[in-house]
């Protein structure tokens, strides 16, 4: 599933494997494509998400730092770090995909 053009980019620094799996499951359930990038420099999830969203052709990026997950969307108009309260990594993965499909978030 890696290396495709319409991918959501997931930038990780020392990701917790379970958290990453759950994010990936969320994307898969919603029918999205993804690409994971391991960062060598330490950064927090928000920074990772912003960086990832700029690399994604769909403008959807996910940042994972240990077990913390953040989403950012990069549009032609501007970049948005969205805060979702109390969401599981699975739901965040689903929402990142729903964004690319122009469907309401859960």
């Amino acid at each position: 599933m890696n290396g495709q053009k319409n991918s959501i980019i997931i930038a990780c620094y020392e990701p917790d494997p379970l958290t990453l799996d759950e994010v990936l499951a969320g994307i898969e359930e919603e029918g999205g494509l993804f690409e994971t990038v391991l960062e060598i420099f330490k950064s927090v999830e928000d920074t990772l998400a912003r960086k990832a969203s700029k690399q994604s052709s769909l403008g959807a990026g996910i940042g994972i730092y240990k077990d913390q997950v953040a989403i950012a969307f990069n549009t032609q108009i501007g970049l948005a770090n969205l805060k979702f309260e109390q969401m599981t990594p699975r739901q965040l993965g689903q929402n990142a995909t729903r964004y690319t499909k122009n469907r309401p978030f859960i």
């Binding site: 029918g31 501007g78 729903r98």
Partner: protein
Amino acid sequence: MIIAGVDIGNSTTEVCIASVDEHGYMHFLSSAEVATTGTKGTLQNIKGIHESLIIAMQKEKLRISDLNLIRLNEAAPVIGGTAMETITETIITDSTMVGHNPDTPAGQGVAVGRTVPIHKLKETYINESIIVIVPKTMDYEVCAKTINASNEKIVGLILQKDEAVLVYNRLDKKIPIVDEVEGIEQLPIGKIAAIEVAGLGMTIKTLSNPYGLAKLFDLSPSETSAVIPISKSLIGKKSAVVVKNTDGGMQETKIKAGKITFKSQKNQSTTVSIDAGAAAIMEVVHSIQDIKDIEGERDSYVGNMLYDMKKELSELSEASEVSVESLESVTSEASMKHLAISDLLAIDTFVPVKVKGALAGDVAMEKAVAIAAMVQADKLPMTRLAKQLEEQLNVPVKVAGVEAVMAAIGAMTTKGTQLPLAILDLGGGSTDAALLDETGEVRSVHLAGAGSFVTMLIDKELRLDSVQMAENIKRYPLAKVNSLYHMTMENGEVIFFHKPLPPKLYARVVVVMDEELIPIITDLTLERIVTTRQEIKRRVFVTNALRALEKVAPDGHMRHIPNVVILGGSALDLEIPELILQELANHKIVAGRGDIRGIMGPRNAVATGLVMSYLSEDIS
């Protein structure tokens, strides 16, 4: 001399202030409007009147003590009420059907087999197709492994969690999967079941077809006719499950709806059952020209509504004669006798209702009749209110003029009008019409069904479960949020934002209030909501405009009315006046939104009329 006209309406209290100079010329000074406090005609109104007078007087840097006279309107003693009677109901007995629209089912096609829970899969040795039921406690990885390892002939899966795609991607053999079935424990085990998942961009075809079900379950012609409610309620779904159950199934029952009895002035009575539909009811309303009273059968929604309305108004008019403490005992059935329901408007509709006993929140469209009614008393206790107001403000207060007459006088300040002039006052509780002719004679009529009826219909037809939301949809334009930074309005205009919109708005249909965007949580498209909204407004207001004008027109011929001025709160609506204009244009009548004194728009007609009528009174 400074005088104030005060109009207490069902929802707003409006004030107009004018001064009369020594030559007898009148100068309009200011006006104001606030929400009516309490029910129209009660002493609670005083708070609102006081507030609106302060606002209006402050605009001219005056105080209430500067007022020489307050003129109150003789408010029309009518109260409107609305109710809806659902006349069909779908009940699932023995939990045999699931029809829903999960966001992401997986696979596609139809499968028939015996239902087996996944933890019993290893112990099962049956030589036939099986459909496996997976509870939410099982993870998708484990589920897929178990299915792949099984030697049984598994043809379909029913999941409780939202994991259809995850399981599907890990299966060696691809089968249709239905997910998000909340009440999965209630599915019968060991029975023959059929599942169907629709293809890309389509809805299910086999289970929503009675003959499709007949083929799958080998049904006889009589059994086939019994599955019609099942098929009907599955139309338009993306996935479905049906379990064959010999001793049960699904029923579409007719609810025993109440009856309505109309009494004419000659004491002839006609009874119609509500399940006969709106057309039959309205035919009766039309055929009886002089309705004396309308009664509903007790313990039906409509019967209760009619009773409650009479009770409410009787409490009001009683209150003028007795003290508040003894109110309860006085409001007896006997005192309600002199109150009469004078008009009724019925509309056929389809409302989505949750299916009783459904496992996944299934919704079925049910037939319903919505009814608005109006009760009329002899008089509201306005003199009591006037007296109290006079004491509190220390300004002379006079109850002057009938509401309809005052509205007509006020409406004449709209440019381009001439006598005879008809007004249509589209309020919250009732649609009122009056005709003022060259001789100064006024004929008026109050009809049931107006703004609050529209709100109720929007609420029910779109299944919003929120009157506030329905009210917003009625009043404000809608938009679809396309991205985090822009949205498309219902007229096609695109609006951009500098800051990202909140996530809860993304990809949703929103109500665009002045500064605020409110998301509508629904699967319905923007177009569908707009069409429903317009259709409801047309059915209520256009129907009522025609009914009302026919009643006040000279000789009952509408074409004898040259112009109609549309007034009232609903005249401010974005489309109601246009809908009425389009219809009245067919009858060659000039109709349009009023513009009181050229500055007030459709508001303040009665208050303006009250002030103006002072001049004629003063001379006489």
